[in-house]
Amino acid sequence: MFDFWSIIRRFLYMIFVLWIVATIIFFMFRLMPGSPLTAFIGTTFTDEQHDLLVKRFGLDKSLFEQYSLFLVNTLKGDFGLSFTYNKPVIDMIIQALPNSIILTLFSLIIAYIFGVIAGAYLAWKRDTLVEGISIPIVLTTRSAPEFWLGMIALAFFSFQLDIFPSGGTSAAGVIYETTLSKLTSLHFYYHLILPSLVLALYLQGLPLLLMRSNMLEVMQEDFVTMSKMKGLSSWRIVIYHAARTALLPVATAFTLGVGFAFGGNVVIETVFSWPGLGRLLVFAVSSSDYPLAQGAFIFLTAILILMNFLADLMYLFLDPRVSYKTKN
């Protein structure tokens, strides 16, 4: 179907990029102002305690030693201990990851379903009043800061109208026995609605505009004209022929969007008290918890790079023309 070795090469290259990013991040955190131990300062904080902490976190070693240790451990999947939580960083990340994934995918899916349909519709309605009004509105939703929309949504839908809960993944006292039982609980999705709608409102602009311009382009193509000549209904032409082809770049954009939205969710996670990876990063950075911040950042990067990689692959699979060329 495609060239196996070129994919392996791309994959190795991906690892290389990840290593560079990890290195940059490692040194940025080490050279950052502020001591990670300040979190422990209290009236009873003694020198002895301080020295113990320094030793425990390996801060007494030279920067180079710390770096090589960091590389070796990271390769083993060990991101070290969080300074503040005293827990393995990887555990914290694994705990936060499902929440971020669900939030991201859920809102992206809403955004893309809406965006694709609305984009196709607006392409259909080209040069009409509907389009004249819609496009500026879409551009405006893309221009509004997410957290601001979140604030307003929270004030209105949660505090004022009391339709949705205001944050977190459950009401007080609800226990999810496992991650699976959480992800299959309706209660969880009820809490997911408001943050994902706000996020989706922000995200829908891209697929919408992309879909619209692709549709406009595809609608000019000969095979669409042919379909009209065949006397097929407009509906059929749009759905089966134009949209199918116009969707290809949108699908790629979706994959790229997953990687991108992961990092961008930081703000929404903060507004809606959503225990995801982004909020973990913000917390870790503001409390100088290097290992946690590093781990979270590397994960976010890995997801982004992986998604870029998948987007390339996906193009191969989805478009018969490309896969054909690669084959020959």
Binding site: R56, N86, S166, A172
Partner: protein
């Protein structure tokens, strides 16, 4: 070679420039300074206070800008770099309330004793042998009246030295939903407000409500009997794990897991363990467990956080009949508060093997990945979804079981969301409100079924000055700076009336040790100007200059 040449040249030029400045201006200008403060989100009131203070002090001819940074950066500068060449001058700082701070010892000794100046909590670098003597003496004075006398002197001594510019003791704001809890069933603890174990035990759920749902703005990092990771987790650990004594609502230690205690002499105390107690797993609480609980922190490698609290214990022995004898290294008036009421009682059969396994691994008890959390407290641990909520359940076998069925703490990282959830009833006890008190007051008025309780904090808010550096090495300058700040403006403007004026490190909440009248002093820019002028400071071109002959160290 090349580098050395440049260094020599630079030294030459700078010495010429320097001599030019010193000779041309007989009085040196007081340098521009930064007032360090935390960012606004961390607490709007101190942030506003910093802005007002800078604005006020600049009227004296100073050039002060507020430098608002996140806590790690601020603490790094103020704490770890206190001895650096280019360190801090002024910083906003706060002491928060904790049960053990109901005894004045901790603040009096740790904040100002010269032994803590270099690396410990005396980061301002206040060194005064006369005060050291007072601080040491109050520790070993067991007679309360005599001790009060010394604490009074210490407060006055610090006030005269203008050691810190005390601003306010904030009023703590707590609120609960009185459609879910019987009005008035919360218990106020001196200096801590109604967020305390006595409330949790006593509060009466009504109208079908069974749970107390509290909230925390900070993320909980651990629930571990050997670890204090932040303010919030100790609210939880103290109710899962019992202590021998507890600080009572009046601020004094009283028997708890200990039926009684008895001072044999100034360095020996016998404690009788309450009989019939059991751990959450059903096994009985024994004297062995008590001794284990106090011995574990003695190994600072394994339990570093609690080790300071057992430093003064020489040895322990079981005297039979549920009695444990503590032999102390020196007499200490605060021992009951800072040790017996501080150390969590843990079951040896569960934690013993866990701590043993840590020996020699380089890890300590703070890294325990808790499969179970077993204590003997009135509430037992059920579930913790990190960064979301902690759920505790009533321990019906406890000698003093709570009336609530579950105690739940939601981790909600911002004030606005916390308040929103409280109004919606998703949270029914507002335990951590750092926002605008007037907003809360409005809400109480609007919603009707909220009981608001305010109490004076044991802690205090102040502006610290770096005594190591000129001009803060001059008591007159410190006094002028401190007295320039109108405390009424602080209370009314920065804290919106939600605080009382502060004059010392002992809060009026500790009414016994608080020195009467210490908060009564005149303030104002004019007064400050007069003090400066009397001390020889002058203002030229709008900028304050040192008295003639005084030179800043470079």
């Amino acid at each position: 070679m090349y580098k050395r040449l440049i260094a020599v040249l630079a030294g030459f030029i700078s010495s010429i420039l320097l001599s030019f400045f010193v000779s041309s201006a007989s009085a040196e200008e007081v340098r521009s300074m930064k007032l360090w403060a935390r960012e606004q989100a961390a607490g709007p009131a101190p942030h506003t206070a910093a802005l007002i203070i800078a604005q006020t002090l600049n009227e004296l001819g100073l050039d002060i800008t507020v430098n608002a940074v996140p806590w790690p950066q601020m603490a790094d500068q103020v704490w770890y770099k206190r001895l650096d060449e280019d360190t801090w001058d002024l910083t906003m700082w706060q002491m928060v309330s904790r049960p053990e701070r109901s005894d004045p010892d901790e603040f009096t000794y740790n904040l100002f004793h010269s032994s803590t100046a270099e690396k410990g909590y005396n980061f301002i670098g206040y060194v005064d042998p006369a005060f050291d003597a007072l601080a040491e003496k109050q520790r070993v004075t067991m007679d309360p009246a005599a001790r009060k006398e010394i604490i009074d002197q210490a407060q006055q001594h610090l006030a005269d030295a203008a050691a810190n510019a005390y601003l306010v003791h904030p009023l703590l704001n707590f609120a609960y939903d009185n459609s879910q809890f019987k009005d008035g069933s919360a218990v106020e603890q001196a200096g801590l407000g109604i967020k305390n174990i006595w409330t949790y035990l006593n509060i009466e759920p009504i109208n079908g409500n069974k749970d107390l749902v509290a909230q925390s703005l900070d993320e909980i990092q651990a629930i571990n009997p050997f670890f204090i990771s932040g303010g919030t987790d100790s609210w939880i650990t103290e109710i899962i794990w019992d202590r021998l004594l507890r600080i009572g609502p009046d601020g004094t230690p009283q028997p708890w897991a200990a039926e009684s205690f008895n001072w044999v002499d100034e360095q020996t105390i016998d404690v009788t363990l309450r009989s019939g107690m059991s751990w959450h797993d059903g096994k009985p609480v024994t004297v062995d467990d008590v001794i284990f609980s106090f011995e574990a922190p003695m190994n600072a490698e394994i339990v570093p956080m609690y080790s300071p609290f057992v430093k003064n214990i020489e040895s322990m022995e079981s005297k039979g009949n549920n009695v444990v004898r503590f032999n102390l290294k020196s007499s200490n008036a605060a021992f009951l508060t800072s040790s017996l009421a501080k150390i969590n009682l843990v079951p040896k059969h569960y934690y013993g093997p866990i701590l043993e396994a840590l020996d020699g691994t380089g890890n300590n008890a703070e890294t325990i990945i808790e499969e179970k959390r077993i204590g003997s407290g009135p509430l037992k641990f059920i579930d913790w979804r990190q960064r979301e909520q902690v759920i505790l359940e009533r321990n019906s076998d406890h000698f003093n079981p709570p009336k609530i069925e579950r105690w739940i703490m939601k981790e909600i990282p911002n004030v606005e969301a916390s308040l929103g959830q409280f109004r919606k009833g998703e949270v029914n006890f507002l335990t951590d409100y750092k926002g605008d008190p007037s907003v809360l007051a409005n809400i109480v008025q609007e919603d009707g079924d909220i009981t608001l309780v305010k109490s004076i904090d044991v802690g205090f808010q102040y502006m610290a000055m770096n005594h190591r550096r000129a001009p803060f090495d001059d008591v007159n300058f410190r006094r002028a700076v401190s007295l320039a700040i109108d405390r009424d403006v602080m209370v009314n403007a920065a804290w919106a009336g939600n605080a009382v004026k502060a004059g010392s490190h002992v809060s009026p909440a500790l009414s016994y040790y608080h020195k009467d009248g210490i908060t009564e002093y005149d303030t104002g820019v004019d007064l400050a100007k007069k003090i400066l002028a009397d001390a020889g400071y002058t203002v030229k071109n709008g900028r304050l200059h040192y008295p003639e002959g005084v030179v800043e160290k470079h």
